[in-house]
Each structure stands twice: as structure tokens, then as C-alpha cells.
Symmetry: C2
Subunit: 544 residues, 2 copies
């Protein structure tokens, strides 16, 4: 049996596009002599469709698309993913399903049993878990077909009380196929290898695993579909962050002609770099936009975003706007211009001093002689937002947000000012990781000016301001934040790791108090196991 794994980039709700590319893949696989093409979870509609699943006409369109794919699927079989209606009156109205299609007809249906409902996942919001499943017979083989999370209950503290493979294994299948929509996080590829390999070892079966690739606003699928032997060794690892179709000959109980291999893992920073570029590119392509705009301060965050955008969209599609205030230093403008020249992107220079002065005058009758404080600082940041948004409105640019995760965490940013943007590129990247990204971007030549990397970070909203005036060194800050946000440790547990108690309490309080700001920030490209946004849902009004 020749199996094709189709690792494609879907578009949520774009049935025409998804169906067309799936049919193209079926046709190509047929030409290559494949017997079976395997597509990813919810491939028909894209993942995550979220509350579109609650609309009847969306579910109808999924079924219509599935029938179109089935019609094209002759002289070959395929496995596709889609939501289907639960025929039982009791329970939720939908299943997260896979269709096994052969000779133009849906021959079997498998429903997902384990529904992830943590972090960015909300599957139990829509789907009824399947309570039973059976293997699929095809070409003399018995296939144990499962959907993504169905294989993820093998650890020591299982989240679910059942494990669908237990039931399927009783039928003595020849192989496992798992169709997935498993989002990227920089530590996820290793966890995935471990969990999937554990299944192979536990059930002594080879596994074909197909993931989606492509970004859907904040969620980035990294592809990296996998083939395992029955010992849990990796036989093939498909490309990360790009589409691919590969073919495998399965004979007896084994994949023909492939030996276990251990690929060199990409570093976290390499993976993050690829993920962010895919995230930017797909946000624009799938929204129908091509041109980005951002404020370029001369600092490292906006420099890194500018470089990533230039790589994702082409430098000719990136407009960098330099908006010095009266507190901006000369080197900031030089650093920003060096970057523009290194990247060959477009730029405008629009000083904001006049705007700040006008607002000061407008507010003088109310502010009287009250001292300069955060009000005047924020006026500058918000005046910049007005300028870039005006250019966006006039010329159709999409504003990229340049805040990093450390800033988002502690609320070191101005709502409706530098926190503005359509999509946040670095909102899940800690400042210390931004420095690593900058060095990675400079791996072959100096793109990010070295001065942007080595100078002390500053918002430049008052004379001589430095980030460290109100924050600890980022090396310390980011470690405390990681323990609190990613690891969900409380203050006592973090203090017990050796951090200064007062500092830990101050930082945690800052994180909690900034919840109202984060609520209004743009969606954030997710690259970590715990990103701000849909994956971290905190009360705004509370005491904690």
C-alpha cells in the first residue's frame, strides 16, 4: 500500500480554496500511484474554526465540500477531517470527525474521542466526545485511525479517563494513522516525538502522523508530519513550516526502505524565526493584504519586527516610520536608518514634536502646572499611533505591533500607543529571546545594527529614560515571568527558587494589573507553550 501524507496550508472557512487544493493533492497522488492520501484534522474547513462551528450553514458547507472531495476521489482513497453532526439527541450536536473515502464514497467515519480544552483549545465547546471506534479495513490492512489528541493520553497524569487506542488495539490493527492540527510552540516538536513514539512502543505499531502547516492569526501550525516504526523510532520527518506531500510504501507491518534516523533538531530560535515569518506571511496572505507598516524607534524590538516583515513580505512591502520625539536620541534615528538601509525597505520620517506640543497646549487649561508624568509620556506614544494609523488608513498598510512578551507581561507599554497594531509579532517572545533573534537574523551579515542590540533598552519618552529605571534587568525579569506565566508558579514557589521576595511580588503584581491592557492588545503570534491571548484567560477585575 502506497500512502501519501499531504501536509497542506488551509484557510479557515475558505471551502473553495481548501477543497481545490485537496483535490489537486488527490490527483497528484493518483498520478504517483498512491493508494491512500491522508489529510490533516479539520482540513476541510481549516483549524480552528471556533464559533463558526455553531452556525448551521458552516456545517452544511463542510459536508458539501466533503462530497466534492469524495466525488474526485476515485481509484484512490483518502482521509479528510471535518465537523459532522451527531445523530444522537443527547449530547453536543457535533463530532470532530475523519472521513475515510474510497471509490467516491464515504466508507467510514471516525470521531475524535479526546477533545482538548486547555490553553488555546476549546474543542469541548463544540464537540461531543466519541465513546467508541473501530478500525478501517483497506487493501488487506487494518488501520487504527485517530484524531490528534486521541493519542495524547499516555503520560503519567492523564487528562482523560479513556484512551481510544486501547479499544482499537483489540482489533489487532497493522498500523496507526493520526490526523492532527497540532500548533507550534518552540518546545512542542520534542514533546510530539516523545508522545507519538510512546504510542508506537505501547501498541507495537507503526504510525503515520499528518499535521497541518500554516498560520491562522495567532495559531501557527509547523507541519513536521512524521512516520514512525513500531519501535517508536522516527523513519521520516516532513518539512517544518512549509507544505509538502510525501509517499511511503507500507508492506507487511513495516514502511519499506526507510531506516530510523535522528535529524538534527533546529534550535528554539531558528524555529521561532521560521514560525514568526510564517505567521506574518499567512496573516497578510489570508487576509488579502500585502503591505505592512511599523514604527521604527532605533531599538531592538522594532528592528527585529522590521527584519522579519521584510523577509516575510519582501522589503518593498514594508514601510518603516521614524517618529522621533524631543526625547529621542540622535543615535536612535541613525540606528533606525541603518536598518532601513540594510533591509532596503521603505521609510518615512515624521517627527511628533508638533503633535505633543499641540496636545500640551490643548490640555494646559486643565493640566495647569502639574508636573510632566506618564500622561505626557503616553501622549507621545499615542501620537505615533495616530501617525502610523493615518498612513495605514490612507494607503492600506497593516500595522505591525512591536511589543515584546516581557513588556506585555508587566504592562510596560501604552494602550492605543505602541500597543496598537493588527498583529503582534513579538508578543510571545521575551526580551532576552528578542536579543537572540536579532543575533540569529545577523547570522550571515549585519542586518540589525549592532548598536540597536548593545545599547540599553529605552522607551525614550522622557530625558535619559532607561527600561531599567522601572524594571529589573531583563535576564532576571524574564526568568521570573517564565516561572509565573509558563509554569504557573505562585509567588512563594518562585521566591523559593532564590529570587528576591519583594521583586517577585512586585513583578507578579505588575503582571496582574496589566491584565486590562493585554485584553485590548492585538492577537499575538504564539510561539511558546503559554502565550498571552486565547491561551491564557485571566480575570480582569479581581484581587490576586
Amino acid at each position: 500500500m502506497k500512502i501519501a501524507l499531504a501536509q497542506l496550508n488551509y484557510h479557515i472557512g475558505n471551502f473553495e480554496f481548501n477543497t481545490a487544493q485537496m483535490i489537486r493533492a488527490i490527483e497528484q497522488a493518483r498520478t504517483e500511484g498512491a493508494d491512500l492520501v491522508v489529510f490533516a484534522e479539520l482540513s476541510v474547513c481549516g483549524y480552528p474554526p471556533r464559533d463558526l462551528l455553531e452556525m448551521d450553514n458552516f456545517i452544511e458547507q463542510c459536508e458539501v465540500a466533503a462530497q466534492q472531495i469524495a466525488k474526485a476521489c476515485t481509484d484512490i482513497a483518502c482521509i479528510i477531517g471535518l465537523p459532522t453532526r451527531n445523530p444522537e439527541i443527547k449530547g453536543k450536536d457535533l463530532f470532530n470527525s475523519a472521513y475515510f473515502i474510497e471509490d467516491g464514497l464515504v466508507k467510514a467515519q471516525v470521531n475524535k474521542a479526546l477533545l482538548p480544552n486547555y490553553d488555546v483549545f476549546d474543542e469541548y465547546r463544540y464537540f461531543e466526545p466519541s465513546l467508541s471506534s473501530s478500525c478501517i479495513d483497506f487493501k488487506g490492512f487494518k488501520i487504527a485511525l485517530t484524531i490528534c489528541e486521541d493519542l495524547w493520553n499516555v503520560n503519567d497524569n492523564p487528562l482523560y479517563v479513556s484512551e481510544p487506542m486501547e479499544q482499537l488495539s483489540k482489533e489487532q490493527p497493522d498500523l496507526m494513522i493520526n490526523i492532527a492540527a497540532s500548533p507550534f510552540a518552540y518546545n512542542h516538536d520534542e514533546e510530539r516525538l516523545q508522545v507519538l513514539g510512546d504510542n508506537c512502543r505501547k501498541y507495537r505499531l507503526p504510525l503515520f502522523y499528518v499535521n497541518q502547516v500554516g498560520a491562522h492569526t495567532e495559531i501557527i501550525f509547523d507541519g513536521g508530519s512524521l512516520v514512525f516504526d513500531e519501535k517508536g523510532d522516527v523513519l521520516d520527518e516532513m518539512p517544518y513550516f512549509s507544505e509538502s506531500i510525501r509517499y511511503y510504501e507500507f508492506e507487511g507491518k513495516a514502511v519499506k526502505g526507510l531506516a530510523p534516523k535522528s535529524e538534527l533538531r533546529q534550535t528554539d530560535i531558528e524555529q521561532i524565526h521560521h514560525a514568526l515569518i510564517l505567521g506574518i506571511r499567512d496573516y497578510f496572505q489570508k487576509s488579502g493584504f500585502s503591505k505592512a507598516i511599523l514604527g521604527l524607534s532605533g531599538g531592538i524590538d522594532s528592528a527585529v519586527v522590521c527584519a522579519l516583515a521584510a523577509e516575510a513580505l519582501g522589503p518593498e512591502n514594508v514601510m518603516a516610520v521614524l517618529m522621533p520625539s524631543e526625547y529621542s536620541t540622535d543615535h536612535s534615528i541613525k540606528d533606525a536608518m541603518d536598518l532601513v538601509n540594510n533591509l532596503d525597505c521603505k521609510h518615512e520620517l515624521i517627527p511628533i514634536k508638533a503633535a505633543a506640543k499641540t496636545f500640551d497646549e490643548m490640555l494646559k487649561p486643565v493640566f495647569k502646572d502639574l508636573p510632566f508624568n506618564i500622561a505626557e509620556e503616553n501622549i507621545q506614544s499615542r501620537s505615533r499611533a495616530i501617525v502610523v494609523m493615518a498612513l495605514s488608513n490612507k494607503f492600506g498598510y497593516i500595522l505591525l505591533n512591536t511589543s515584546n512578551k516581557s513588556e506585555c507581561a508587566v504592562g510596560y507599554g501604552t494602550l492605543y500607543g505602541d500597543m496598537a497594531g493588527a498583529i503582534s509579532v513579538l508578543g510571545d517572545v521575551y526580551k532576552t529571546q528578542v536579543f537572540q533573534l536579532a543575533r540569529y537574523i545577523n547570522r550571515d551579515r549585519e542586518i540589525i545594527p549592532v548598536n540597536s542590540i548593545v545599547k540599553p533598552p529605552s522607551a525614550e519618552l522622557r530625558p535619559g529614560q532607561k527600561d531599567t529605571d522601572s524594571l529589573p534587568e531583563y535576564e532576571i525579569l524574564d526568568r521570573i515571568l517564565f516561572h509565573y506565566i509558563e509554569e504557573k508558579k505562585g509567588p512563594e514557589a518562585i521566591i523559593a527558587l532564590g529570587f528576591e521576595p519583594a521583586l517577585v511580588r512586585k513583578i507578579i503584581k505588575m503582571v496582574n494589573l496589566a491584565e486590562f491592557k493585554r485584553y485590548q492588545t492585538p492577537p499575538i503570534l504564539r510561539i511558546s507553550p503559554k502565550a498571552f491571548g486565547m491561551g491564557r484567560r485571566m480575570p480582569i477585575v479581581g484581587k490576586y
Copy 2:
């Protein structure tokens, strides 16, 4: 047996406050000779605690607080709600539980079986559903204790495959007690009476139902705790939108001295009015703020928000800022000033013409002679946001957003401009409902100037602009929006109701394209069964 129902206003994560007021209620009930005090679901920690539930130290604090309450609970019993740890290795780590406390000890624990995971609810994100339960014996009575959703599976298309009361009813209980955290929507009180009454009729049992009261950012609990007889008739209905403790004598199988009553239901608009005032008041009180600011345009939306804020916080705590542009009409300023005078709130007049002119000049080298368009319109709206946010930053005011649901739906608003604010007061109130609210506010005397109500709505961002230039009449628009948003009907289904096909498609497209704007709007006080925000989760990048 004398039962006290304690309908209290909790504060999420504020264990000190919640525990103290629960202990006070226990002491008061003891003085009144009560045998049992019943508190609401998750009363110990407040509802919804969201991802705080994922932090170990939060769960520990819940248990510590429960033990403090238990210690105070002597010579009386009580029922409290809190998250507890699931002792089983398999399944999620927590239960949503009720403790039955007697003589200072936790004598019984009931875990919630049906976990709502739709709309604003995410309970399956945290909790393992209980699979079994048993009645509680107290003072010779057998109590069937359930938690909120546990009683909500009695309709024709049940969301869950099980019904916990089926199991409990086998023990032949004498009464049902249900502890709830059931959020307000203007149609929810009638649904609640129906569903709870259906349980009484089905199991032929009386029911004591305790709800929370109070607002937690967007979620508003309306109280309205209920006592039913075994025929499903209402014997008592506790106050809506305010705290209360009431006592009931239960003898044999009946509540003593109470006859079925049918209260006059409040109209939807009355309920919405109360809910919004509670929503504003609790947002401020629970955040530790007292002073609100808003931009007052002379139009109806900001007038209604200003009146609601004055009632919630006191007029002396409301700062209305009049910010005319060169396109503002004279009557707008007069209408705004009339409102300020009617309410006796504070005000400032800060024209924004100078800011708009300065930005025009700053952008002239780039904009050149391109015609006035949405870029210039938005500059005005965003300049106003800078002014109110500067006042907010300087004086500690909290900005109230004044956008209504119709605008939010179609994206008729400026991000970082009039869409700014800490909390959106009218974001779940359609424009046609805003008019009703205005008339209700004027029920005794003219508070909202009649001219603000009768004049054609306009953003006044260019000469002679009217909302109807780009939108249909609100009577039509709101009906189409209701079918799409609340009823989740697709375009064909809405067109089939008799609306103009091109208009329906245009409106739906506007709603979908505004998803990126809504992502960045403030939290919205929820008063309908389908509010924007956490209850409606749509993809941003997609095609639908």
C-alpha cells in the same frame, strides 16, 4: 429546618473579603435561628476565576478559606462552593465542588456533573465532571444538592448525556438545593424559572436555588434566588441586582407559610438598566477606582453612558469631556451641555481642531493632495482618545467606552479612537435598545436631552455626515444583526425572513470584517444571550 439563602456579591480571588462576608452571614443566620445557610457556586473564590484555577496556590487558598469558614460554622450548617482537587490520577485535576459543613467540619462533598462549556463558560477547561453523587442527610431530611448546570439538562435537545438528578432522585430526597453562578441576560430570568420549575415537576420536589449577585468585568450576576414548591410554582423570588439573605421554614416536604406567587416581571429594558449600573459600579469598586471619564458628543450613546455612570458612581465622580471638531454642529455642544446640567456631573470643553490641524500638517509631506477620507476622520476620533486618556493618566479617571452593539457589530467605530475605554457600557446594547434605555432613563424627568434622542445619529467626522450614509436604518440593521449574532443564522436563512439579499450579505460581511477591531475593544458588559467578547469567539483571519 430553617434554611437561609445567602445571595452575596463576591470578589474573584479576594479570599479575605469573601470569607469574611460568608462568616458574617453564618453568624447572622445563627442569630436568626437558621439550621443551614446556603451560599452560591464557587462562592469561596468568586466566579469566573478562569485560569487562576490552573495555579496551585490559588487552589490552596480556596481550601484554606473553606477551612476558616468551617471553623466559624458551629451550631449551624452551611453549603459553600469552591474548586477542589480530583484525587484520581486519570482525568482533569479539579472538581467544581460544594462542601456541606456542619459542626466545624466538612461532612460531605458534591462535585458538579454537568460542566457548561459554551458561550462565556469554560468549565470543562478546568474541571472533571462528576460521575456519581449521593444525597446529604441533615436534620432528618435528605437533600439532593446539585451545582448550577446540573439541573439544566431537561430540554428537548439535551447538551449532556447524563442528568445527575436522575441518580439522586433514586434516594428519595425531600428537597433539592441548587447553588448557582448563573449570569444575567435580559431573557435569562424566564428561562431560569422554566428550567428550574421543570425539575420540580419532573422530580416532584421543592427547590431552593441560590444565585450569585454582582459583576465581574463583563459577567453580571443578577441574583434573583428562588424557592419553588414541588409543583414547580414559585414561592419566593429574592431581589434582583442586590444582595440579600432570606429565611425559610421547611417542614415535612413543604416550605411553611408561603403560597405560589406570580411576580410582575421587570421589562427587558428595566433589567438591562439595573444590570449596566451594577456592571459599572462593580467594575469600579472591585478595581479600587471611583472616577469615570468619557467623551460626550451630544449624541445618544455617550449621553446614556453618562447618565448610567452618574447613577452608578454619583455625578460628582463623572467627568464628561466635550471635544468638538470643526465638523461638530452647534446643537451637539448644546445637547451635551444640557445633559451635563441635567446630571450635575463635571465637564471640560477641549476642542480638537488644533490637534487635527497639526496632524494634517505633519502628514502633508506624505499625504500631499490626496483627498480627505477615513484617514482624516480617524485622526479626529483618535485625537479625542488622546485627550481623554491624558486626563485619565493625569487624574486617575477610568475611561468608559460608549460604542453600542450595532456599531461594534459592523465596525462603525475607530480603533484607538472612540473604541477605546476600560469597559464598554453599551457594547452589548443594540442602537434601538439604546433609544429605549434613553426613554427609560427619562421616565420621570428629562435627563437625556430630547434632542439627543430625536436627531439623526451622526459621527460628525465630516460635513453633514449621517450614520445612514453608510448603514441602513437601525430598525432594519439591528434585526439583521440579531438574526446573525444571537440566532447564528446564515445569510440564506436571514434572506428567507424577507430581508433584502444584497443588504443581508453586505451587513454580514461588515460583521465578519470587523472581527479584528472587536478583538481589541474593551470588555463589554454582557446583557444579552450572545455578547461580543468571551462569549463569541470568531476567527480573525478566515474567509466566511
